[in-house]
């Protein structure tokens, strides 16, 4: 297993599968009354968040605690450039406290990779700018896999603001590694430069994708959150027009194949990229994603910090 988790692209198919398989075991623990495993007892994990986040930080915090790690949350928003402290100084200060892993969220792409150059502990990317969010991709893959079985050969459509989405980048890399086909759907203004070289399909037309005209029928629809500030950047004219062009409306929901699932990384803009009908439908696995997030992050922390072994021993110890 790798020392750090920076990019979904760093994982081989077997490494990713190992993480997902272990996450299945962790997932089962969530149903227990006593959820704690002793696997990371005595280890310290710092959630170092340079950008606001509730769900990802909470998810990592619970994951660490259920593995018996000591988890510290540090909100470092604005502590870097604006306060005159360099990122290096901030990170060295935290590392000097003797932590075993830092889970980092930062508004700048590549910040997490940069941190690995300065500290000796494990570093986990919890979202860096518009670059990557590998644990989100892992939890998405986990959630799809639970509903549909193997990912290999499945077709996943990712719809929305791909340009500014770290979720999309990590998903394209990981889903491809796991053998799925990906189609990105967005207006041209929200497609990143050079996207034509990515290993995925592209479309400006959501209805064509739903009709199976782009690389066949869709097995999973991933609706990306539209940041409202994109409006002022002139990426699209109005929310109304966006919803009509790229929103998962009740009509579009009905066009999906029977088995297809709907994902959203949250938080959702109901009525914009996703209708309430879609968000609350049986196909929606949005809350499954949240639950999977804890299990996947437990698995990642376990594999990075406790070693590459199967967690079976630890699990047995817990149930004994």
């Amino acid at each position: 297993m790798t020392r750090h988790l920076l990019s979904a692209g760093d994982l081989s198919a077997s490494e990713a599968t190992t993480i997902l398989d272990s996450a299945e075991q962790m997932y089962a623990i969530q149903a227990r009354q006593v959820k704690k495993l002793p696997a990371l007892r005595g280890r310290t994990v710092v959630n170092l968040f340079f950008e606001d986040s509730t769900r990802t930080r909470s998810s990592f915090e619970i994951a660490g605690k259920w593995l018996s790690a000591d988890v510290i949350n540090i909100s470092a928003k604005g502590s870097s450039v604006s306060k005159g402290e360099s990122l290096r100084d901030t990170v060295l200060t935290v590392a000097a406290m003797g932590v075993d892993a830092v889970v980092v969220r930062h508004a700048a792409s590549g910040a997490v990779q940069r941190i690995t150059e300065w500290v000796g502990c494990h570093v986990i990317n919890a979202g860096d700018g518009t670059h990557e969010h590998p644990t989100q991709a892992l939890l998405d893959a986990f959630s799809i896999r639970r509903r549909l079985g193997e990912l290999s050969g499945r077709h996943v459509a990712i719809v929305g603001d791909v340009t500014h989405s770290r979720v999309a980048r990590s998903n394209v890399l990981l889903l491809r590694t796991l053998g799925a086909r990906v189609t990105l759907v967005a207006p041209p203004t929200l497609m990143p430069a050079g996207v034509a070289t990515w290993k995925c399909g592209l479309s400006w037309d959501l209805d064509a994708v739903l009709a199976g005209e782009v690389d066949g029928p869709v097995d999973a629809m991933m609706m990306l959150r539209v940041q409202r500030e994109r409006m002022s950047g002139g990426y699209f004219p109005t929310e109304r027009e966006y919803a009509i062009g790229y929103g998962l409306s009740p009509r579009r929901l009905a066009l999906l194949p029977e088995h297809a699932v709907v994902l959203h990384p949250g938080p959702m803009n109901r009525g914009l990229e996703i209708s309430s009908a879609a968000a609350d439908s049986d196909r929606s696995i949005v809350l499954d994603q949240v639950r999977a997030g804890v299990a996947v992050r437990m698995s990642v922390l376990y594999h990075l910090l406790a070693g590459a072994d199967e967690p079976a021993a630890a699990l047995e110890e817990a149930s004994a």
Binding site: S80, V81, S86, L87, R88, D89, H106, A108, S109, G110, A111, Q113, R114, D128, G129, T130, H131, E132, T163, R166, R169, P192, A193, G194, V195, T197, W198
Partner: protein, 439 residues
């Protein structure tokens, strides 16, 4: 430091066959075989080293006043002399901004006091570089600093009306407007990577080529309309080279510069997110690098200018997007130009002299620099061992900062000596102090 007469034995002026060259009273006094050293003159056995007119940099950030922790006039002058330069143009984006006669005179005075290179201050085009109202261009031009280059470098004079007025207003002073071509609506300050496959993959805000090209296209038309002199800073794209070539063919009075780093480095270096490669304009793909080399070779681009931009380590120890823009350039410029232009056969030594000394001196209206190597001319010279190589070690550079993108790289050409009006500022590869003048 007093000026000593010097006899350079076995040198190759502009790479031509070996001869001797005698420097007396700050001027070239003799060129020919087997010259005799006058009484008391220093004699340098140059072993076939190449002599060029000392280089002139149109684009240097000396950081003084304001950021003396990153560079000073003294440290920057030392880096320049060691790089073979005899003159640098100190950019206006200091703190306070060089937008009045008082500031430019202060910078010029600091330069004279250090005395290693001629420091020519650049004046701001707009007050405070804010792009709103003209700076005191006339006062700066008429001051003791005699400013002839005006630039808001770091910022584009993006407002078309202000640009037009500035071009017109400069005319009585025979001055040039050096434009930082970057449409801020197409590439704002957050844009830090060439817009393309790599920026998209890395999730870095893209800086599209068209943000530079469209401003240059507008500006060459404004220069034609006003009949003024326009200079384009740090040209970085193939499209910009084409626009400038077209404008020159139309007779527009436009000149252009390219930085050494844009002649050698490409956007591919960004994949590690190391901010040492963060520069404005950004590193571009190899196709642009080839077009820039071709443009410099055919004279579409007139000059090499370093855009030497020192930064304290703590301004680079950030995520890529948060770190400061800029790289060191003065001590590595020659090596990069030799590698990218001379060794590739695109320029000969005379061409190197033209792009690094003669053309920039002409553009900046710098008297005494960029002159032919003839008897009677000022002895502003650099002496280069062309076949030696050196490995760039950031710790050994004269700059107060360490942000060179060439660390660990082997570069060709070693500056053995630099002369400013006959006085050795660099001698035997080292900065010359009073004591180190050779016996």
């Amino acid at each position: 430091m007093t000026t000593r007469d010097t006899l350079l034995r076995d040198v190759r002026p502009l790479g031509e066959p070996s001869t001797d060259m005698l420097l007396v009273d700050g001027r070239i006094a003799g060129i020919g075989a087997a010259l005799t050293a006058p009484e008391g003159a220093a004699v340098i056995e140059a072993d076939g080293a190449v002599v060029l007119p000392a280089f002139v940099d149109l684009h240097t950030h000396l950081r003084e006043p304001g950021r003396e922790d990153a560079e000073t006039v003294e440290s920057g002058s030392a880096a320049a002399a060691l790089g073979g330069y005899g003159c640098v143009h100190a950019m206006a984006n200091t703190n306070p901004v060089a937008d009045t006669a008082e500031i430019v005179e202060q910078v010029a005075r600091l330069g004279r006091r250090v005395g290693l290179v001629d420091v020519r201050p650049v004046g701001a085009v707009s007050k405070g570089l804010a792009g709103e109202q003209l700076a005191e261009i006339g006062n700066m031009a008429r001051s003791d600093a005699a400013v002839r280059v005006f630039s808001d470098d770091g910022h584009c004079v993006s407002d078309a009306r202000l640009m037009r007025r500035a071009l017109e207003y400069l005319k009585p002073f025979d001055a040039v407007l050096a434009q930082h071509a970057q449409d801020p609506r197409l590439a704002d300050a957050s844009c830090c990577a060439h817009e393309g496959e790599i920026s998209g993959r890395l999730g870095l805000a893209g800086w599209p080529s068209v943000a530079e090209e469209s401003i240059i296209a507008r500006d060459v038309m404004l220069a034609q309309h006003t009949g003024s002199r326009l200079h384009v800073c740090h040209v970085s794209t193939a499209g910009s080279v084409e626009v400038i070539r077209w404008a020159k063919a139309r007779g527009v009075d436009v000149t252009a510069e390219v930085t050494p780093h844009h002649l050698l480095l490409t956007v591919d270096l960004l994949t590690g997110y190391d901010p040492v490669y963060k520069v404005n304009p950004p590193l571009r793909p190899a196709e642009d690098v080839h077009a820039l080399r071709a443009g410099l070779a055919d004279g579409t681009i007139d000059a090499v200018a370093t855009d030497h931009a020192p930064h304290a380590a703590h301004d680079k120890d950030h995520a890529f997007g948060d770190a400061a823009f800029g790289m060191l350039g003065l001590q590595t410029a020659l090596g990069v130009v030799l590698e990218s232009m001379l060794h590739t056969g695109l320029l000969d030594w005379a061409g190197v002299a033209d792009r690094m000394s003669i053309a920039p001196a002409r553009i900046g209206r710098v008297s005494g620099h960029g002159r032919p190597l003839r008897i009677g001319e000022p002895a502003n010279l650099t002496v280069i061992a062309p076949d030696e190589r050196w490995v760039v070690d950031p710790a050994n550079l004269a700059s107060l900062s360490r942000n060179t993108p060439f660390a660990g790289r082997s570069l060709p050409g070693v500056v053995l000596a630099t002369f400013l009006r006959g006085r050795a500022t660099v001698c035997d590869r080292l900065l010359a102090t009073g004591e180190q003048v050779p016996a």
